[in-house]
Symmetry: C2
Subunit: 395 residues, 2 copies
């Protein structure tokens, strides 16, 4: 017997109704509109955009973003960088720390490989050991005969996330000096991402949080420049706050990734009036497989969509029946659907149910493929199969 | 460049310290002991065991379970059944509803294929439409020239889970009669699984919940037998309650799956004295990649382990430093580690951190491979790479 994933390609050209469930479906028209909105937003604010590919993990989508004007992509993991590079993406920033010698050797090898392709690799650091290990790996890669290369290094400062990064100010400046000591490293600037601020619900709270980020960035930058350290680039921002970083003048590069697909969690934020009106482009197509008196059960549970940021929302595409339903956790393989109003109508056995995932990044990471459709979810057709190239690539 | 997953095989024979992070690590010694405990428990209670392969999704492990005495395996999805069958597992029960005609055609094809291998396929139903659709698919498969086959059918009753299943009693009996109407379907008995009861923390609550399940099962069975319907098998139970179902005399088959790997959530249950002392066998190996004043950050976030049943617990293998740490959500790719006692020591940059996942099933589903080790986590070595054959197989 053949593995059941392969036949997806034969769906191309068929109506959306032919897609077996559960399946991750990408509305390519909506994605393209989001891409255009982001490109226009970045142009207007004269800021570069380097979307986070940890969200889609697809080389094809990364290339599409760069064709639309993105200067490159971010990733979180060495393996993601390797896989996207193999897929033709040649300007990659690992916006994260790497300290294991075996991984640093891979990072150095990739930096040399991308240099040979006239691309470039960048990485973040937040420790002296990390800087030393990276320099050793770069020197070893060079000594072993690879094309000479320099890796761009961003000093990560903790601007409120409480995760990685050194304190803004003097400690960050000291680390920047350490980077400068190594010929194979090029000090590229500051990494300043406030992850928690992305999900503050009110636009005012998000603006206040990013105002603090901007103060930290400006103070650190001033101190660096006073000591002769050039800050080429300050990079950060997510889909929740990008309007703040873009308007601040303190950021050169936006890392937002989720804008492309949007998810239920970002849609639950109060929209900042300055924010482009990104629309949902990522859905789980599901089917009702059981109906009881007070609920129905669909075939998509949390092995099909991530629930770390809450349950998916039931989506009613144009042309579909207007049933108001809420989704409740039914475990790994099931979703419980209830009428939004007690006593309201439930779907019938076999009906299609569309879900907007709570969080797009870990949802995509559950799937090997996304089914790309055009012409809408109700009456459109399958245009292409998008491979999630770096699915599960966590090392 | 090669994809970074392939070189895992070269780890075999190397020490555990050589495993790159994050990685899903299986303690094969502990797993083997759990397997022996389950086999002995089932023998003692004179009950069959058909462990749920939705947990491990691996044909090699399913075969190992059957060699240890399991009568077959359960799965939740048609694609899981197809993949395990291709991996040499020939007695499979889809303990779930399937209603889509395209999937029912696959179910019927698989039933015929397993019959040709002298194996068998079984499935659950909870609707008349499901029964009719299944019979049509079986007839179509037979008409198309496949070896004659019959599929075993369990009527699922809702015994408190509030998900799939018809009400116990008359409605279930009526559905059993419908199954009997079709020559290609063999009425096999009742599916009676109470998922919610698995995670009730006190042993007393679990016993009470399963006492209710047993009453429902016995009443339905009596009604069926009074109407001449033979109940060959009552199947159900999970790792949390299996002692109750086994002792009840009402169940012929136990479906528990998690006992083999155990997870932090099941370990948080008060242990019933009658329950075998299953130990943790599944771990995420992780590395500290950043250290701040009050926390450290490891490289495993919820793309490496599922958090639907809570955060992972930090595990201290024998021979490892005795640091008391708690794990906090750091997002998709990061974990935040804090000292269990305020001011307590933190791990150092580069240190290994072992995590016990909150929930094993969806954690395994995040990984393409498990690294099987023998001789302990601290000083053992890699014995084999176990492929998660049905990873992502959700259709």
């Amino acid at each position: 017997m053949k593995p059941p994933h392969e036949p997806l390609k034969k769906l191309v050209g068929h109506p959306v109704s032919a897609i077996d469930t559960p399946a991750l479906v990408l509305d390519l028209d909506a994605m393209q509109r989001n891409l255009g909105r982001m490109a226009e937003f970045a142009r207007k604010h004269e800021v570069r955009w380097r979307p986070h590919a940890k969200m889609h993990k697809s080389a094809a989508i990364a290339r599409l973003q760069m064709q639309a004007g993105a200067c490159g992509v971010c990733v979180q993991k060495t393996a993601e960088a390797e896989i996207l590079a193999a897929g033709g993406v040649h300007d990659i920033y690992i916006s994260n720390q790497v300290v294991a010698p075996a991984k640093l050797a891979r990072v150095a090898a990739l930096a040399h490989l991308l240099a040979a392709e006239r691309g470039q690799l960048a990485i973040a650091v937040d420790s002296g050991e990390g800087v030393t290990g990276l320099a050793q790996a770069m020197n070893a890669a060079r000594a072993s005969g690879a094309t000479p290369a320099v890796i761009a290094v961003f000093v990560e400062i903790d601007v409120g996330q409480g995760r990685c990064g050194v304190a803004p100010g003097a400690i960050a400046v000291a680390l920047a000096h350490e980077v400068r000591r190594h010929a194979a490293l090029r000090l590229a600037g500051l990494q300043a991402y406030h992850g928690k601020a992305q999900h503050l619900r009110s636009a005012r709270e998000r603006r206040e949080a990013i105002a603090g980020v901007v103060r930290d960035v400006q103070a650190t930058r001033a101190l660096m420049e006073a000591q002769g350290l050039k800050v080429e680039c300050v990079t950060g921002a997510g889909t929740g706050t990008l309007v703040c970083e873009a308007a601040s003048g303190a950021f050169n590069e936006l890392q937002a990734g989720s804008f492309l697909f949007m998810d239920a969690d970002y849609a639950a934020n109060e929209r900042d009036p300055a924010q482009p009106n990104f629309e949902h482009a990522l859905f789980v197509k599901s089917q009702v497989m059981s109906v009881a008196a007070d609920h129905a059960v669909c075939d998509a549970g949390h092995k099909s969509h991530a629930i770390d940021s809450g349950m998916p929302r039931v989506h009613l595409p144009e042309g579909a029946p207007r049933l108001a339903l809420t989704y409740h956790n039914g475990g790994d393989e099931h979703g419980i659907l209830r009428a939004a109003e007690p006593g309201g109508p439930l779907p019938r056995l076999g009906d299609t149910v569309w879900l907007i995932p709570g969080h797009c990044d870990p949802t995509v990471n559950l799937h090997d493929f996304m089914v790309g459709v055009r012409g809408g979810l109700a009456h459109g057709q399958v245009d292409r199969i998008v491979r999630v190239d770096a699915r599960g690539a966590a090392s």
